[in-house]
């Protein structure tokens, strides 16, 4: 997942972009729960309207967000087909030998597919509107209370920061190694899967050695700059909730309330 989310940030200055990362992470989680509560056509319609509304105020191109569904398109289609074909139910729409498509099965399939699509779109709006660095800060702040039960919040955030810092550097390095090995006559194209995996070895070995050397250097440099873990550390950029964040929470809770009502409340239809 890491490489998918890494380059995803779509810079902007919309209301959604300016929200505190903690707000965005939490409201995303709330909305994901809301998606799971939906069980009626009205519920899904409300959720779709909500996603469209959020996309509209975030200034993201709609097609960009829709594309985030692509990596899982196969699974979505599979879910739809399996549910339609294997589903149990009274109202048979189509039958061919032992395969029958029932109305209930088809409905369930469409629901499942909708659920997956909505989940992907909602979570990708989070990564589209939040830079990975800010996202890391948000995760660290949210995990901090769990330090008492042994969650290494600071360490996780530090690892993510270093990963973000070094991924471009290591990509450059990979490029250099590929060129160097090509110059020595290595062939990276062609062959079956096994041969191709084997071809990667002359790239991976030098890359690992260099990564370890870098890690060693970095550890010394960090120590020289008084690094001693998260204890007693301050931050230059402190996260602060603003009025917009309250609004986002109200919106998210209203959404989950609406879907809970549609699921358990009195039925109109």
């Amino acid at each position: 997942m890491l490489d998918i989310t890494l380059g995803q940030y779509y810079p902007g200055n919309s209301f959604i972009h300016r929200l505190d990362p903690r707000t965005k992470i939490l409201t995303t989680l709330i909305l994901i729960v809301a998606v799971f509560l939906a069980n009626s056509a009205i519920g899904y319609a409300a959720l779709c309207a909500m996603v469209l509304f959020i996309i509209a105020i975030s200034g993201l191109p709609f097609m960009l967000v829709l594309k985030s569904v692509k990596p899982l398109l196969f699974i979505i289609v599979l879910t739809l087909v399996l549910h339609a074909v294997m589903g149990q139910g009274e109202h048979v729409l189509y039958q061919w030998k032992f395969i029958k498509v029932t109305e209930e099965g088809l409905q369930l399939g469409v629901q499942m597919a909708m659920r997956l699509i909505l989940l992907l779109m909602i979570s990708s709006i989070l990564t589209f509107t939040t830079s990975p660095i800010v996202l890391t800060d948000g995760i660290e702040a949210l995990l901090r209370p769990f330090r008492v039960i042994g969650v290494p919040a600071h360490e996780l955030a530090m690892m993510m920061t270093i990963a973000l810092r070094f991924i471009p550097t290591l990509m450059e390095e990979t490029d250099r190694i590929i060129k160097a090995q090509t110059a020595r006559g290595a062939d990276f194209s062609g062959g079956n899967l096994l041969a191709r995996a084997k071809n990667m070895l002359p790239i991976l070995v030098p890359l690992f050695i260099s990564a370890f050397r870098r890690a060693d250097d970095l550890a010394i440099a960090m120590e020289a700059r008084c690094y001693r873990g998260g204890e007693g550390r301050t931050r230059m950029h402190q996260l602060a909730y603003r009025s917009g964040d309250g609004l986002a929470f109200v919106f998210a809770f209203a959404m989950i309330g609406l879907l809970a009502f549609l699921r358990w409340g009195p039925k109109f239809i």
């Binding site: 660095i133 270093i162 973000l164 250097d217 690094y227 001693r228 301050t234």
Partner: protein, 281 residues
């Protein structure tokens, strides 16, 4: 004047991969004064990097002592104060930048020692301005040139509040432009902010800019003095595997062939003037 760094009989012995003890430093007595710009030169394996790491308590003496601002590096209670007082800049520009944004990286040091947010912002801004990188505060480090990365590393030590900066071959991996940037930044900090500089290098032209040059070989200080003193000793430098500046070498050879030239020529201009004096008179 009070010494910023003082070593007495400093010895450093480590065990190499074949389990043999190696003496990297063998009795170093050295004083570095406040506001001084000291260059340390020496061939590979002469112990100059090992010496530098003792100034920041990254390495501890096997024998003898190192005092930084009057604090003994062997006393663990002094560790964090010493690392604040003496900043280190390393050779590889890529491997010492921690954060994915320039200003966050400069803030890394002061964040570690718990500087309050408001003061921290001021420190980061001042430090970036001092190395002339304020315009790049929101850039990603991997998009900067080598010289710019090293200037960010220098800003990192300034933001930590260091009054003494130890640079361990900061220009070894840079192009000529980057080398010039670093040297002029360091000289400016030394002259304008009176920051003590220990500059380890194998570029003789860089060492010529220092107030004092220390020549190392086999874990010992072979000799030291002003750049003029040191670089006039062409033969001794060569014995240590070092090359004197071209003008000094040329003057030395001319003198050997009987051309009457004054002692202590180390720059091209001085050589040109001396030659003009000899031949055009």
């Amino acid at each position: 004047m009070e010494p910023v760094i003082e070593t007495k009989g400093l010895k450093h012995v480590y065990i190499d991969s074949d389990n043999n003890p190696v003496t990297a430093l063998d009795g170093i007595d050295l004083q570095i004064m406040s506001g001084e710009f000291v260059a340390v030169i020496g061939a590979n394996g002469s112990g100059k990097s090992t010496l530098a790491r003792h100034f920041n308590a990254l390495l501890l003496p096997s024998e003898g002592s190192v005092n930084v601002h009057g604090l003994d590096t062997l006393d663990e209670n002094n560790l964090w104060q010493i690392r604040q007082d003496t900043g280190m800049v390393f050779q590889n520009p890529d491997n010492q930048i921690v954060a994915a944004v320039v200003e966050e990286d400069v803030a890394f040091g002061p964040e570690n020692i718990g500087v309050p947010t408001e003061e921290l912002k001021q420190r980061v801004e001042d430090a970036l301005r001092a190395v002339d990188m304020l315009d790049y505060r929101e850039h990603a480090p991997h998009l900067l040139s080598g010289g710019q990365k090293q200037r960010v590393a220098i800003a990192g030590t300034l933001a930590l509040g260091s009054r003494c900066i130890v640079l361990d071959e900061p220009t070894a991996m840079l192009d000529p432009k980057g080398r010039k940037e670093i040297l002029s930044t360091v000289r400016k900090l030394n002259r304008e902010q009176h920051i003590t500089v220990v500059y380890i290098t194998h570029f003789m032209t860089e060492a010529m800019q220092a107030d004092r040059v220390i020549v190392m070989g086999d874990g010992r200080i072979k000799f030291q003095g002003t750049p003029r003193d040191v670089f006039s000793r062409v033969e001794e430098l060569e014995k240590l595997g070092l090359e004197a500046p071209l003008a000094a070498k040329f003057a030395f050879e001319l003198r050997k062939s009987g051309v009457k030239l004054p002692q202590g020529i180390i720059t091209n201009e001085e050589l040109a003037e001396a030659l003009a004096g000899t031949f055009c008179a």
